[in-house]
């Protein structure tokens, strides 16, 4: 039976060469038993084929790391005493570990009128109504899970708590700001995430006469790309 196999292999030198090649590379030892009991003369005959097999250089491809996240968001920010307005911004995140990430974000909105300004007619308290903030925060992922859409779709998701420091420029003044919030990240694909975020920006200001800490609540929807 061995003779028949040898004949089978020798009658198709190319096939045999390729078979040896793939056997050597893929299975490693699959072809070894057949070489064991081959007499010396026939082994030489088999070696005629060998020189055609070039040693393959194995170059290990690099693994693609996807720890960065970049994206944009839009939502509503309620400035204490100045009403709510649409807010939009961009965020950038780096995932340190499966649970921990850092995020930098910049957002912008505009202050509305205080109730005093509305009632008093033309009086305006602020010259510049732009409200811009930036922050750097730590986030912690918890409650990982899946969100199901109908019968056929399941998306990975996780909640995160996030908090950090930054600055808010309001009425042409920079204010040191703490932020604290909670968010949900839903992965539409491995590289595209949808964010639903609620955040409180806390800073002290004396804009309305006396020093007080203001809570500025923000809710937004965003998307990010992992790269």
């Amino acid at each position: 039976m061995e003779v028949r196999i040898r004949l089978f292999l020798l009658s198709r030198p190319l096939a045999a060469a390729a078979a040896l090649l793939s056997a050597g590379v893929l299975a490693g030892c699959a072809s070894a038993p057949e070489d064991v009991d081959v007499p010396a003369s026939e082994a030489e005959a088999a070696r005629i084929i060998e020189p055609e097999i070039e040693r393959r250089e194995i170059k290990v491809p690099k693994i693609d790391h996807e720890n960065f996240e970049v994206g944009a968001f839009a939502g509503i920010l309620s400035i204490e005493d100045f009403g709510s307005n649409s807010v939009y911004g961009v965020r950038f995140a780096y995932h340190i570990a499966e649970d921990l990430f850092v995020e930098a974000a910049v957002g912008r909105t505009e202050a509305g009128l205080t109730s005093f300004e509305q009632l008093s007619g033309n009086l305006r308290l602020l010259e510049n109504r732009d409200f811009t903030y930036y922050n750097v925060s730590f986030g912690y992922n918890f409650l990982p899970g899946e969100i199901f859409l109908g019968r056929n779709y399941a998306f990975n998701s996780s909640l995160y708590v996030i908090g950090g420091v930054g600055s808010t420029r309001f009425n042409s003044e920079d204010n040191f700001t703490f932020n604290l919030g909670i968010g949900a990240r839903i992965l539409a694909t491995d590289w595209l995430a949808i964010h639903l975020d609620a955040r409180d920006h806390v800073f002290a200001t004396d804009l309305l006469g006396r020093d007080k800490a203001t809570n500025n609540l923000e809710g937004h929807l965003g998307f990010t790309f992992f790269f």
Binding site: M1, I63, E98, F176, D190, D206
Partner: protein, 249 residues
């Protein structure tokens, strides 16, 4: 009979083996499972459920990595996420154990680039700072920094360039000393009638500690003494304390 069958299967698999792994190999790294089995999770985290296992001896392609999780594709085209711990127990096609590039204490001692974010106190005001550093050897780094100082009466922006010396780079906790110069731009708050914006030159000397935390991540605590060269007769001295974290590459 079995051998003939083997030979036949091998001969038949040639066209497949040329189109399959040969093409894929150029794109993705392929490893062979050496543990009894490899667990595939639905997502990159321990909380995501295991939905498939790959047996010992099968090979998988590594598609990408997120933190400590690897997305792999099995021979039957299933895709899932595998933990780093299990990835380390796989073999390369050459038979060697798979090695993964991770931040280690050795790499920490020899890193080239560093980016960090810090916050703290600048003469009673809050400060938020960012810096980037390039290490031209293990213990000496050039640093560019930017700081935003948020005071009650004024805001300042400080841009600095300096040199930092790491005393013992191979230690996980090492003291450091820094020296540099820069420019400070001070804007008074609008609600107070104060002199207009001004820019001054500054110089600083500092002492601190850097602490290796894990992987590519370190913490840093720094004290700096700033000298402001004002246009007035006397120079101003400012103490700054900062705490923060940094990544290295």
């Amino acid at each position: 009979m079995r051998r003939r069958l083997q030979a036949l299967i091998l001969a038949l698999s040639i066209p497949l083996s040329f189109t399959g792994p040969a093409v894929a190999e150029a794109l993705f790294q392929e490893v062979v499972v050496a543990d009894p089995y490899l667990e595939l999770h639905t997502g990159p985290g321990r909380g995501y459920p295991v939905f498939h296992v790959v047996e010992r001896g099968s090979s998988v392609e590594i598609l990408k990595r997120r933190t400590d999780w690897f997305k792999v594709r099995t021979e039957d085209r299933r895709e899932g996420w595998v933990a780093r711990r299990q990835m380390l127990a796989t073999l390369q096609p050459t038979g060697e154990l798979t090695r993964l590039s991770d931040g280690t204490l050795e790499q920490f001692a020899e890193h080239r680039w560093e980016v960090g974010i810090m916050a703290g106190d600048f003469d009673g005001a809050s400060v938020i700072a960012g810096y980037g550093a390039w290490l031209f050897n293990q213990s000496l780094q050039v640093e560019l920094g930017f700081e935003h100082v948020l005071g009650e009466f004024s805001n300042s922006y400080v841009g600095t360039a300096g040199i930092t010396h790491i005393f013992v780079p191979e230690w996980p906790v090492s003291p450091l000393a820094s020296l540099g110069t820069g420019i400070i731009s001070i804007e008074p708050q609008t609600t107070l009638g104060q002199p207009e914006d001004r820019s001054d030159q500054v110089a600083y000397a500092g002492l601190g500690v850097r602490i290796y935390v894990t992987r590519r991540f370190m913490a840093r605590i720094e004290y700096r003494s700033y000298m402001l060269f004002t246009s007035r007769d006397d120079n101003e001295e400012i103490d700054e304390w900062k705490y923060g974290f940094a990544f290295f590459f």
